[in-house]
Symmetry: C2
Subunit: 369 residues, 2 copies
């Protein structure tokens, strides 16, 4: 039994956990930069709770609410400049994957000078602003990973910064902030979490310890996804959202240890070129990826299908198709372009079966036509 396990983030979960635990912020610094998207943190109550908590412990803050979906390198440098100018000394990121990913890069860039061409190198000094994260979707798991995924226009895809420095000090999980999320976003983000758990089990870096988290997460998500399939938007309960947020966090711990696989590399093209939501992109690709793996490693795929309560890969495909609805289409030319980009990604080599470029083409073809 060989493994390494490391996840130093303190996770605080529960209704109103930010205000109840406001003293935590005092241990992080004296002035916070609040990193958010343009709208949702204001609407769902999370920003207000953070401001209330900060006020109660007398900590100042400055708002940086410019993070777009799939954040760019420019925006994180802009945030870091603001943090320095305003003499902030810690980061609070509030939102889905995008503000959290941007928050990590800002925490790094505000604490040390890193040139743009060195940003993806991993060669950093051992310092970073402390971070507190407030996920407002249940999917990315970024609150417990050492990754920051940024849009990399030079490589025409998304690329990750990975460093143990990027683990937040604290993650606050309060599912109330998700109550206003629509059915489609809830499903897409849940499928993102599922993709993390499943890809973690299909990674060469999987261990007894990562499987422990992946198995639990997959089981919870299998139940949640079936409930989402039959529910209409108005009846997604707080209780269901809490399970989704918990499972998404567990799946984040999985990929912290295993990384992701070809599904993510391929999905990034669908997001970069066709603006397909990240979780949805993974969900579109996952059934054919499972079938591809099954040819060489049937036992592992059977284990995953059993956790999903699916008789076979067809049942798994059918569950995801019900959730994702009408699929986007893709041309042969796009298939070739995207496969040629995805094959260069680091996480291709991470699979228990290593996909060749023609395998990626076949998966794209089966998944979107």
């Amino acid at each position: 039994m060989e493994y390494q396990y490391y996840m130093p983030t303190k996770v605080i979960a529960g209704e109103n956990c930010i205000v109840k635990n406001s003293s935590v912020f005092s241990s992080l610094g004296t002035k916070a930069i609040l990193v958010t998207g343009t709208g949702s943190a204001k609407k769902n109550g999370s920003l207000q709770d953070v401001l209330e908590a900060l006020e109660s412990v007398g900590i100042e803050s400055i708002l940086f609410d410019k993070i777009m979906s799939n954040p760019t390198i420019d925006i994180v440098y802009e945030g870091a400049e603001l943090a320095k100018k305003e003499k902030a000394d810690f980061v609070i990121a509030i939102g889905g994957g995008s503000p959290m990913d941007a928050g990590k890069a800002i925490a790094l860039l505000a604490s040390q000078d890193i040139k743009e061409e060195e940003l993806f190198s991993g060669n950093y000094e051992n310092k970073v602003f402390p971070m507190a994260f407030v996920p407002t979707t249940a999917g990315t798991g970024s609150e417990v990973t050492p990754y920051s995924i940024l849009t990399n226009d030079k490589a025409q895809t998304k690329t990750s910064i990975a460093s143990p420095l990027l683990f937040p000090k604290v993650a606050f999980l309060d599912a109330r902030y998700m109550m206003g999320l629509g059915q489609a976003t809830t499903i897409n983000t849940a499928i993102d979490a599922l993709s993390h758990a499943v890809e973690g089990m299909l990674s060469v870096r999987a261990t007894a310890m990562s499987d422990f988290y992946a198995v639990e997460s997959t089981k919870i998500l299998a139940e949640c996804l079936r409930e989402l399939r039959v529910s209409s938007e108005s009846v997604i309960s707080l209780e269901l959202r809490e399970r989704l947020l918990h499972a998404s966090m567990l799946a984040g711990i999985v990929i912290s240890h295993t990384g992701t696989t070809a599904v993510h590399s391929m999905g990034y093209s669908l997001t970069y070129f066709k603006d397909i939501d990240h979780g949805r992109a993974n969900g579109l690709l996952l059934p054919s990826f499972l079938e591809f793996i099954k040819e060489s490693k049937p036992e592992r795929v059977e284990q995953i299908l059993s956790l999903m309560n699916c008789e076979d890969t067809r049942a798994f495909r059918s569950l995801l198709e019900d959730l994702l609805g009408k699929k986007e289409t893709i041309t042969e030319e796009e298939i070739k372009t995207y496969s040629s980009i995805a094959i260069k990604a680091k996480n291709i080599a991470n699979g228990i079966v290593i996909a060749k470029e023609e395998d990626l083409q076949k998966i794209f073809r089966e998944s979107l036509n």
Copy 2:
């Protein structure tokens, strides 16, 4: 779903993991104090591996090999003095619970001045020597807890120091060091781990997250204990020992969050006054404690019995009796003394059913006569 989760120790598991990961030591300091018992670390190869790893990265060390079973307050002050005198700046503790518990106190006392009467107060400055831990038994889980349990002669029991400062930076889990452990020690320590997992489930502080670890640990230990029941000493395989070490670590994560319950408070008297091994003491008491809890909370006990693959509490008692063999006896006077001490312990209030002094007496009486 409300919980807090925090376990910042990096766990590195596998054969020869210390030498393979010697670079880890360079991140901890420049001179180590090695805290061990009087003999076993030298015999089982663990000390030699640590010295080899330190030499390979050019780190000096000083050996403090005086830790007795159930370490005293005097010995940890002596160790801290040596660390200061020798200008060590980090601690490597190697051994069972005693050297690890002592190592934590030494790491704390070497970094700041704490008077003996303040030692159990929890009021410390925010500094401690970094620690690397090498468990050589599978039971205490101390490598992933924020507790140091010391013999407290004033209170005539064992008392714990608890502080997040006491989490080691790194834990190395290599089951090879356990290959020479006898059947009785292997069983006693495994039962200590089981007691942690089960008491964690019987704690008012149990959460979805602590249960996640407790359920996995209990399931693994239930299998391992059955294998230990039928195996003779010579056939305890490395593979079985690896599962025990893994389960013990998981159970350590449980009590880091839940604390222990009356079983531990009561067991400390059996250890303090009658020199009964800590794990064995817990094992002697656990069946009657389960029966006591079952009167008020039958569902929770049923859940534990099901994880243990035991039909009822009698089957659970029978499994433990097979493992523990002939029991020690106890007089009525001892029962009264020990109960009056145990009832004062903090962890009594931790149970999902709070035991009164007469409940403790009844449990002692049933367990040891």
